[in-house]
Amino acid sequence: MATVQIQKSGGQPWGFRLAGGRDFNVPLQVKKVESGSPAAGVLAPGDSIIGIGNSDARGMTHMQAHQTIRGSGNYLQLTVVKGHGGMDRLSSIKPKGPVKFSPWKAQSAQ
């Protein structure tokens, strides 16, 4: 994990889409980043947000997280786990084609 800081000017949006939250049973993560926004280059899609400022974001609902970020003014500090480009990374390790159960693979992996 890493701590990142973004600054913006008043009235300007941060430039990223927040998804997930406790109420959606999905971790808080960055979905989209507008190019040229203050978040560009700092945040990337698939990043998990585990902390907003000094608060632990892992138990927050979507709206709680949204409000907390909104309430940080023009300076935002986030604790994130880089997502390696979100599901794109995962798709690289996923087997191609239909899945087939092969227990001996598990044994060799363990």
Binding site: P13, F24, S48, M87, L90, P95, K105
Partner: protein, 701 residues
Amino acid sequence: MIVFSIHQENPLENLNTAFNVAEQHLDIPRMLDPEDMVNSVKPDERSVMTYVSAYYHAFSGAQQAETAANRICKVLKVNQENERLMEEYERLASDLLEWIKKTTPWLENRTTDNTLPGTQRKLEEFRDYRRKHKPPKLEDKARLENSFNTLQTRLRLSNRPAYLPTEGKMVSDIANAWKGLELAEKGFEEWLLSELQRLERLDHLAQKFRHRCEIHEEWAEGKEDMLQSQDYLKCRLNELKAMKKKHEAFESDLAAHQDRVEQIAAIAQELNVLHYHDVQTVNTRCQLICDQWDRLGTLTAQRRQGLEEAEKILEKIDQLYLDFAKRAAPFNNWLDGAKEDLLDMFIVHSIEEIQDLVEAHEQFKGTLGEADKEFNSIMNLANEVQRLCQQYGLTLRENPYTTVSPSDISNKWGEVKQLVPKRDRTLHDERIKQENNERLRRQFAQKANIVGPWIENQLDGVASIGVAARTSLEEQLNKLRQFEKATDSYRVHMNELERYNEEVQESLIFENRYTHYTMETLRVGWEQLLTAIARNINEVENQILTRDSKGISEEQMNEFRVSFNHFDKNRSRRLEPKEFKACLVSLGYNIRDDRQGDADFQRIMSIVDPNNSGYVTFEAFLDFMTRETADTDTAEQVMQSFKILAGDKPFITAQILRQELPPDQAEYCIQRMAPYTGRDAVPGALDYMSFSTALYGESDL
């Protein structure tokens, strides 16, 4: 002798007086006139001479006469004198004799009134006699003698015959009488003094008598009452013994007083002998004392007897009391214990327990015969005491050796006897109850032992459905529904079992050795079964839904299911991270054994277990496996749709919504859409973009 008086200054009167006197006394008649004498310068010589010669004649004749008269007078005078002396003598003699006559018997009288004062008065009288009365009489006597002698002398001298006093008044008579007097007088004083002494002594003795009587009477005061009192009938043994000692002391005292009483009697006797004047009173008092003395003696002996008798009886009673105490105490304890046992509230839970109690009770009943005998013996002791007291008129006192009374014992024994049959009944009733309880236990157990295993079988059956390889979801669902139906129709047995359980509980039965199943465990099992069936049905239905919506083939589902179950050893329908990792690998996932691989796995974990519970459910696993690799921006799609409706504007109005959407969905959107606050906003503009992202848990910042 002629007596007259003259006044110097009055010659007339003097003359008158003189002429009168002469006429009266000298028989010389008045021949002159005083006035003439006085008034004339020179009185008639002849008349005067005549008158004066009358005087001369008067006196001269008188003188002769006088001489003759003198001579006669002289003789007569002697006679007169003698007669006077004789008279005097007679008189004196008779007076004296009279006095002697009176006094002599008085002196001869040697009696007194026997009283000291009386006798003292007599002494006083004698003293008076000696000092006052006798001396003059002695003088008289002397005078008498002198008188007689003088008289005799005179008579002799005048040649007269001697005087002979009258009869009885002779000198010798007088002398005799006087002698008699003297004789009588003699010894009178000594006699009187000795009388006085005697009387004094008597008086003193009488006083001594009275004094002793007083002391004695004081001592005897109340003794009769004391001796007569029957106080020893009312007292305790120790008090009686003290009374007896007191009586012994009294007896000594009495003996010591014997002397005194005898002395009093002796004094009384002496007083009698000495003719004490008030000997009557003395004798009466002495008699009273002696009578009382006799009575005291009798009473003393009687009291002694009474005391001794009472002592014996009280000692006997004491012994009885002691015996009673020694036996009554243990018996009383036994009674208390028996009562406690007979009233003992018991709680039994089995037939064996009640049987034990019945046996114990029977054993107890066996001891009652002996107890009755003991009871009677003890009561006899108490009764004997009562009888003795009644017989001898003693006051019944409480038993000093124990606080347990005969009535206590009697009452308790009565109670115990009553309680025995009661206990019989109680035990009998309890036995019946216990037998009933057994019946209820068996009833419940019988059914429970069928229902329990049935439930267990069902649970196993349900659990095994998902495990069996290669059954289609539909087939699974079918089987589950069959289980559901079977369970439903089996409910009636659970209800019956609940009824049996109620009966068991109402009878306060707490354990049942005929079955290891309790209603609680069966209920739990039953609910587990229902839950398992419902959950499994739900899961299968979800899986069907997932499969259908994601277009997963049956074979694929099989692979997923088999692989998951393979790693879900404990059939908990969830995997630990290690198991999950192995599962992924077994399905062909390339999770490397390096940092990248760990990072990848962590990423996957954060998706399948977002709440960090530590487990991966089959649903989450399935969800992950069927997730589209391409992240469709469904939020974007919805937003695009709204944009189209809004005519490419960044906001939408309620009007448009109502126009384009069904009414309730339009209202849903209108209510939930926030107002659009962009620069190009119009009144009533609604923000559909934040609404769309919010639907998918997304929001733009």
